[in-house]
Structures are given as structure tokens and as C-alpha cells.
Symmetry: C2
């Protein structure tokens, strides 16, 4: 990765990729959203090497995306499980975007995608670009520009 952790990138996209821009990391986060929390569950789901999984879980804990919780099964020693923090749950937007693009633009018969509902009302919820009053704008009608902190810092005049 171009930006090392010591010199975080100025671009927020690059900073997110510096933390998450590794396939295993994003698949671990995906599995955490599916309810997996134990080392053995991630290993079984992903087929990832133990040392890689150990390192990625530790990094996700350090970044405040997962938190460790102790649990003990009857007759076993205490173990750790890994659950999404509030910050981790904000990654819904990233995982949801990856799932939506795959579903719509890399189709495959019989494939699965994340489906979101409002946990209070049960209404179907989808990820979209919307105006402040909730009007959807299609991706092909968007204009994008970089925010410029020099313009928004408001230290002039």
C-alpha cells in the first residue's frame, strides 16, 4: 500500500483502504455481519490460514472495528470471540456497497447478497445516493469532486 500507517493518506478513500484494503480483512468483516464471532467460525467460513486470521483479527481490534469478548463453553477453557463495535457496524455501508455492485454487475445464478431491513420496523432498506429530502439520484447522474479543506477551513477573512 502506498500510504504507510505512519503517514496516513490525505484522501479518506486511501485511508480506508490502508486499513481494509486486504481481501481477508473485508471478508472477516462480512462474516462478522453474518453473525460469525469465533476463531473456528472464521476459519471454517473463509479457509484462511490461522496466522493470517490471527493477525487480521488483532488489527481489526486495534482499529476499534471488532472487540474481544471472553466466553467459555462447558468443559473448555476460556476463549475469545470477536464482535463488531459501533464503529465496525458503520462498515455496513462498505460491505453493502460491495454486495450491491456484485449482485447488479457481476451476476451469478444462485448467488447470495446482503439484504437489509430496519430492525425496528422490518421495512426493506437499500443503499442509495439520496438528496437531503430523500430523493434517489442514479450513479450515472452524479457529479463528484474532492472536498477541499483549504476552502472549508474558514480561516480566511
Amino acid at each position: 500500500m502506498n500510504p504507510s500507517p505512519a503517514t496516513p493518506a490525505r484522501c479518506s478513500i486511501a485511508r480506508t483502504l490502508a486499513v481494509l484494503g486486504d481481501k481477508w480483512t473485508l471478508l472477516i468483516v462480512r462474516d462478522a455481519f453474518w453473525g460469525h464471532s469465533r476463531f473456528s467460525e472464521f476459519t471454517r467460513s473463509l479457509g484462511v490460514a490461522s496466522d493470517v486470521l490471527t493477525a487480521r483479527l488483532a488489527m481489526l481490534v486495534d482499529e476499534g472495528i471488532l472487540e474481544r469478548r471472553a466466553y467459555r463453553q462447558e468443559g473448555s477453557r476460556e476463549r475469545q470471540e470477536y464482535v463488531l463495535t459501533e464503529k465496525g457496524k458503520q462498515l455496513h455501508v462498505v460491505i453493502g456497497a460491495l454486495g450491491q455492485f456484485g449482485r447488479d454487475h457481476l451476476p451469478r445464478p444462485g448467488s447470495t447478497s446482503p439484504e437489509y431491513t430496519d430492525e425496528t420496523t422490518g421495512e426493506a432498506v437499500s443503499l442509495a445516493f439520496v438528496t437531503d429530502d430523500g430523493r434517489r439520484v442514479s450513479a450515472s447522474s452524479l457529479h463528484v469532486q474532492k472536498s477541499d479543506p483549504a476552502l472549508t477551513a474558514g480561516t480566511q477573512g
Copy 2:
């Protein structure tokens, strides 16, 4: 990566990562949204090795995310530039999600993020989880489950 291109993953998230789960690939797509299109512009912006950039650009063309267009500067030979296709523009949702998470949860003074407007009306637009009638639902109030194609295929009875 766990799923090889020969056996695409059943999960739409994993399929997207099989194409895009490489830091350079997503940074090239980001740069394309910023308006970069020429080999020299990507090289300058990213500091990426030429052989890596060549391979990633070819893959993004093969996947239908970028398309090659010929251009000729005065006094130079014909060269190729790379622009987002309609399919590529649908990656706004992925790049926007990465930018939004970085801006909100990996803050850094003076950092830049993508800012979206409706190119027709100029209204500010943001990425959000919304119900069909445009009500925003916060990431921490979402319930997620995998779509199950066996349930939705409708071939029974």
C-alpha cells in the same frame, strides 16, 4: 483470494472483491472518478510501478469497468486513455462508501473526501441506507441477512 476466477464465489461481496480486492485497483478507479484517464496521470498520482498499472488497467478493461479510447497529442504518436464505462460509474457506491467511512471514522485534519452532487440540479447527494419512501435508517439500526436464492427461486408448488 479464496475464490479463484474459474469458480466465482456464491457471495456477491466476495465476487466484487475477487475483481476489486486489490488496493491499486480501487485507487485507479478512484482516480478515474477524479478525472484521470492517462497512463502518466495514474503513474504520477499513485506512484505505482508501470507493470502493475498496465496489468490492472487491462483487467479493468476486461471487466468492462474502464474502456480504452485513442487520443493523439500534437507531435506525438497515438496513445490510449482509460475512462469509466456505465458499469464502472456504478462503482460510485463502493468508492463513496470507502470515502464516507474514512471521513467519519478515520479522521485526519485537512483530509479530502469525495463530495457528490446531482449533475442536473446541483443538489448535494450522500450515500445512505434508505427505505423505499426515502427515509434514512442508521447503520446501527440495520438488520442484515443473506438473500437465499433457494427461497426466492419460486420453483416449488
